[in-house]
Amino acid sequence: MSEFLQHLVNMLVLGGTYALLGIGLTLIFGIMNVVNFTHGVLYTFGAYIMFIVVQQLGLNFFLALPVAVLAGWLLGATIELTLLRPLRGSDIDTTMLVMIGAWIAMQSGTLWIWGGVAKSVATPFPEAPLVLGPVSVSWLRLFVLAAAAMLILVTYLLINKTSLGRAMRATFQDHDTASLMGVNVDMIYTSTFAIGSSLAAAAGALLGPVYVIFPQMGDLAAVKAFAIVILGGLGNITGAVIGGFILALAEELGAGYVSSGYRDAMGFVIIIAVLIFRPTGLFARAERVG
């Protein structure tokens, strides 16, 4: 029983960052209809920003998170403006392949600059974990959970309470009509990609110090993000949050009770199962064919 409680606690910490990854991707995928293969690279990028700020520049740990968010925002906007805007109107396969090209180039760039050796980041938190009855959790992980929850809340408010968010939701529903109503759809696309990318970078900056940082760390993160989006349904933020926690739970239980080697297979199994048995996603209402 205490083992199960420990899995639940781990699930909460993982699920928070997974939700961040999923929200970022579901916005991009849902609003822009772009299968964003650079999402994992942005996650890696966020982690390396953390490494640069804390280890190489020697600045404050808590300063690194906002820097990573900002850097992710800028890189995302750059990718959108240079690679996606010229291809507006081309089919989904073309943009997807361009994103694959960008992913290969950026990941190899990371490998070239920092090398393949895994890096770790020193944190200001005490080594001893917080013990609550039968479960224990490190202070760093608690901070990760709190920061992720705060970012999720900010994104939720941005989408639902601001005029930018309203324009994004309108574009998601029908970009032609939104455009007729005076929404600058090009600007919405760039903002969406930048916001989604900054959330991926934030997730990387948060999970980087928990594990280690290496150039290929984003590949699995991207797959997990796709699994979350498919679970939660396109453009569905609440779905992405729930999907993030479901994936984290499946991974924890899969690793704990099946075999730790198959932990990372859970995301793929979920993708296959959902698309075969319930292709509209668990929470989505929209039809998902074509």
């Binding site: 073309t94 361009v98 180039a105 990941q107 190899s108 070239w112 793929f268």
Partner: protein, 348 residues
């Protein structure tokens, strides 16, 4: 005219080992040839049915593992105290089994994945490939996991009059790959120009319209997936018996991307496209090796993929063919007719 070009190209490729003595270059040509076969099989799906499968390396890898395990033998325990023991068979039997098993996997994956289209189809196919990779990595008793299957025997052919010929040298393997590639090319060409090929292209142009004229979508797509997977399995088998060592890295997503780049750059939906694109991208690392670090090569690789999609979105072969025809006749209208015949798709 087309037949003459094909025969000339085959003759030129067949002459290569006679004047090329550098084993490193010959090796690069053999592995490139194996990947060209994979790219041709991917083109059958991507270019002629319009379905972008990003899990294609799964069938290649399954072919490699089936072929290797059949010729090496294995002894694994299954749930319920059952032991599955297999004594080594000749490599050629492994190749045939590889084609068969890969084709069957193509059938099941196709049956499940073709329930969704577009981005979802892409993501499902990636997921299948990754699940297979993780099984190959974790089922250590069967696959040796990351320790790799080693000492895979070379393919041996029993020829009448000569006896058994084991293909060990690079030159022998080069001709083996060339023959298999030629068979795959002719098979795909025959298929594309048949009634079935027209059904596939009809589906790609307009699925609703194709259904309305009585084309069985699921049957057509699944059959294309089976043939495509079987050819990829054959390529995987060649790979296993030539390299003679395989590990789960054979399933790496980057290998699928390599095949996709070969097809897209050469021209999807064009029979010669994957061959031209494959030779360029297969030999590009050889050309770049003296001047660039490996990481920089990969950056260039990604950059070239993006550049091709921006500059030559239809691929090298269709673009050149169009230019050639336009210059000869001076009539752009004729060019588009001729291109439709070779199967190139106009951008939507």
């Amino acid at each position: 005219m087309r037949a003459a070009v094909t025969i000339l190209a085959v003759a030129a490729l067949a002459s290569v080992p006679l004047w090329l003595r550098d084993p490193y270059l010959l090796n690069a040509l053999i592995t490139t040839g194996i990947f060209v076969i994979g790219a041709m099989s991917l083109n059958l799906l991507l270019g002629f049915t319009g379905q972008l499968s990003l899990g294609h390396i799964a069938f290649f890898g399954i072919g490699a593992y089936v072929s290797a395990l059949t010729s090496l033998g294995f002894d694994v325990g299954l749930p319920g105290d059952v032991r599955l023991v297999h004594a080594p068979w000749p490599p050629i039997a492994g190749s045939l089994l590889a084609i068969l098993v890969a084709g069957m996997c193509g059938y099941f994956v196709g049956l499940l994945s073709f329930r969704v289209r577009g981005a979802y189809f892409v993501i499902v196919t990636i997921s299948f490939a990754e699940v297979v990779r993780l099984v190959a990595l974790n089922w250590v008793e069967l696959t040796q996991g990351p320790l790799a299957l080693t000492n895979i025997p070379s393919i041996a052919l029993s020829l009448p009059g000569i006896g058994e010929l084991t293909l060990r040298t690079k030159m022998q393997n080069y001709y083996l790959v060339l023959v298999v590639a030629l068979v795959a090319y002719l098979l795909i060409a025959r298929l594309v120009h048949s009634h079935f090929g027209r059904a596939m292209r009809g589906l790609m142009e307009n699925e609703t319209l194709a259904v309305s004229v009585g084309i069985d979508v699921t049957r057509t797509l699944t059959l294309a997936a089976v043939i495509s997977a079987a050819i990829a399995g054959a390529a995987g088998s060649l790979y296993a018996h030539y390299i003679r060592i395989i590990d789960p890295e054979v399933f790496a997503f980057i290998n699928t991307v390599t095949m996709v780049i070969m097809v897209i750059s050469g021209g999807k939906g064009s029979l010669a496209g994957p061959v031209v694109g494959g030779l360029i991208f297969g030999l590009l690392p050889v050309a770049l090796r003296p001047v660039m670090a490996p990481e920089a090569q990969w950056i260039a690789y990604g950059g070239v993929l993006i550049a091709i999609l921006f500059v030559l979105p239809r691929g090298i072969v269709p673009s050149l063919a169009q230019r050639f025809i336009r210059r000869r006749s001076g009539a752009p209208a004729l060019a588009s007719v001729a291109l439709t015949e070779t199967g190139a798709k106009e951008p939507a």
